[in-house]
């Protein structure tokens, strides 16, 4: 965003300026600068959760908006995500120590026959950043992988991703299996991937189709809030 990055000494910025600079550096995919800024804020006594939410997640939210609006494209989003990953790598062990709030647990994976994982990885990272625990099953997952992980992890949410027209119908296989086993109502099922759309999500019985990672986070938060409300009123 700025042409004067080389002139900026991060440690000389005050907190507000530094956070603004982190937004710029995330936008520009500058991993080393993000890692340096995270260390600076930790040294200044910031709580890891605050750094995560106020600097990294907020910065990625801006990236997400410009991706949605066609200003940024996949390569730039990947670079931004890589920069955020650098910051998250520093914060993750500290978050566990400091008892950051957990919003819920998600099992996520790309479906059987599909090796594409860029979108899934972005969703995983953004969900973690938003306070969800994420169990990432990777690529090419048969239905057994999902079922086993959901049971083992006592998850709240199942996320499935597919990039191909030929593999996206497998999501219905997974959902139908959940129904057959009487497990469907135990989980929030979110689906996503380039060839999917809202009609497809409804047709296969998912709770929601999520257009991008930012939408996935907001949708997951919304469904978790509804789940807690239902439990409270039960």
């Amino acid at each position: 965003m700025s042409d004067e990055e080389d002139d900026i000494i991060l440690s000389e910025l005050d907190d507000d300026e530094l956070v603004q600079q982190m937004f710029d550096d995330l936008y520009d995919g500058m991993k080393e600068e993000i890692e340096e800024a995270v260390h600076i804020l930790l040294d200044r006594g910031w709580m890891p959760y605050d750094i995560l939410t106020k600097a990294l997640v907020e910065g990625m939210r801006i990236v997400g908006i410009d991706f949605r609006d066609g200003i940024l494209f996949v390569p730039e989003v990947l670079l931004a995500a890589n920069a955020m990953k650098g910051g998250m790598g520093i914060l993750k062990p500290l978050l566990a120590e400091t008892g950051a709030p957990r919003l819920g647990k998600m099992v996520i994976g790309t479906v059987k026959g599909d090796i594409h994982d860029i979108g899934k990885n972005l969703v995983s990272m953004m969900m973690e950043g938003a306070g969800f625990e994420v169990v990432d099953l990777g690529i090419n997952n048969p239905v057994e992988n999902y079922i086993d992980a959901l049971e083992k992890e006592d998850a709240d949410i199942l996320g499935m991703s597919a990039l191909l027209t030929t593999t996206m119908p497998y999501m219905k296989v997974v959902i139908d299996t959940l129904v057959e086993k009487g497990m469907r109502e135990d989980y929030i099922v979110l689906v996503g991937g380039a060839p999917l759309n809202e009609e497809f999500g409804k047709a296969i019985g998912a709770n929601a189709y999520c257009r991008d990672a930012a939408v996935a986070v907001e949708t997951a938060k919304d469904f978790m809030a509804r789940k807690h409300n239902q439990m409270a009123s039960a």
Binding site: G29, F73, V74, P75, E76, L78, L79, N82, K112, G113, D114, I115, H116, D117, I118, I139, N140, L164, T165, T166, M168, A194, P195, L196, N197, F200
Partner: protein
């Protein structure tokens, strides 16, 4: 008489109309223009014209259905029949639904590399080629425009393994016998860090669909 086509750059960016006052129109992806004209010329189907939409629409599959509908509407008065030479092409079934609503036929299958290979053959390969990245003649020639630049590899080569790390092999589905394209496809595989395989397909199911449309 062989009909003249614009260069691949124009087919990518702008599309083209190749008309000889035919009664039927094939509305196609620019990536299929040369193959469609070759099949038309081979069979002497003078009643068939070709309108190509910009091949770069493939980079934005969500725009394909609207672009096809606009072109069908634009040309429907001038032709007795319009056929859509697109497969699903990442539209998740939306293009098929749109074509049905418009009352026009389209090509079955998920992508051009599936119908060039033969849809049934492609489906039968199943997960065996899950880690294959496919190129056709057109995509070999336009590799930079469709793969290298849109994926940002010209600007950020460090993204290569993040983008292509799960792939193992680049399979060039060749429509024509062309040693130069073979070399280019091999070079593309090298640039992506993938093993290379060439498979001659000819025009596959495209030719049989066109034969049905021409009859």
């Amino acid at each position: 008489m062989t009909r003249a086509l614009p260069d691949d750059q124009t087919l990518t960016e702008e599309g083209a109309l190749v008309a000889q006052n035919g009664k039927s129109l094939i509305l196609a992806c620019g990536a299929l223009a040369r193959e469609i004209i070759a099949v038309i010329d081979l069979n002497g189907w003078k009643h068939m014209d070709l309108k190509c939409l910009p091949a770069k629409l493939h980079l934005y599959p969500d725009q394909i259905s609207d672009a096809v509908e606009a072109a069908v509407t634009q040309h429907s008065q001038a032709y007795d029949q319009i056929f859509v030479a697109y497969a699903d092409c990442g539209t998740g079934g939306l293009l098929q639904a749109r074509c049905e609503a418009l009352g026009v036929k389209m090509i079955a299958g998920p992508h051009c590399y599936a119908f060039f290979d033969g849809n049934q053959t492609f489906a039968d390969r199943g997960d065996a080629e899950m880690a294959a990245f496919y190129l056709t003649d057109f995509l070999v020639k336009q590799f930079d425009a469709f793969v290298w630049k849109p994926m940002g590899l010209d600007r950020h080569p460090q993204l290569r393994d993040m983008l292509f790390g799960n792939y193992e092999t680049l399979i060039y589905l060749a429509q024509t016998e062309n040693p130069d394209l073979d070399r280019q496809a091999k070079a593309a595989a090298d640039r992506l860090g993938l093993a290379y395989e060439r498979r001659f397909t000819g025009y596959g199911d495209l030719a049989s669909h066109m034969k049905n449309w021409a009859s």
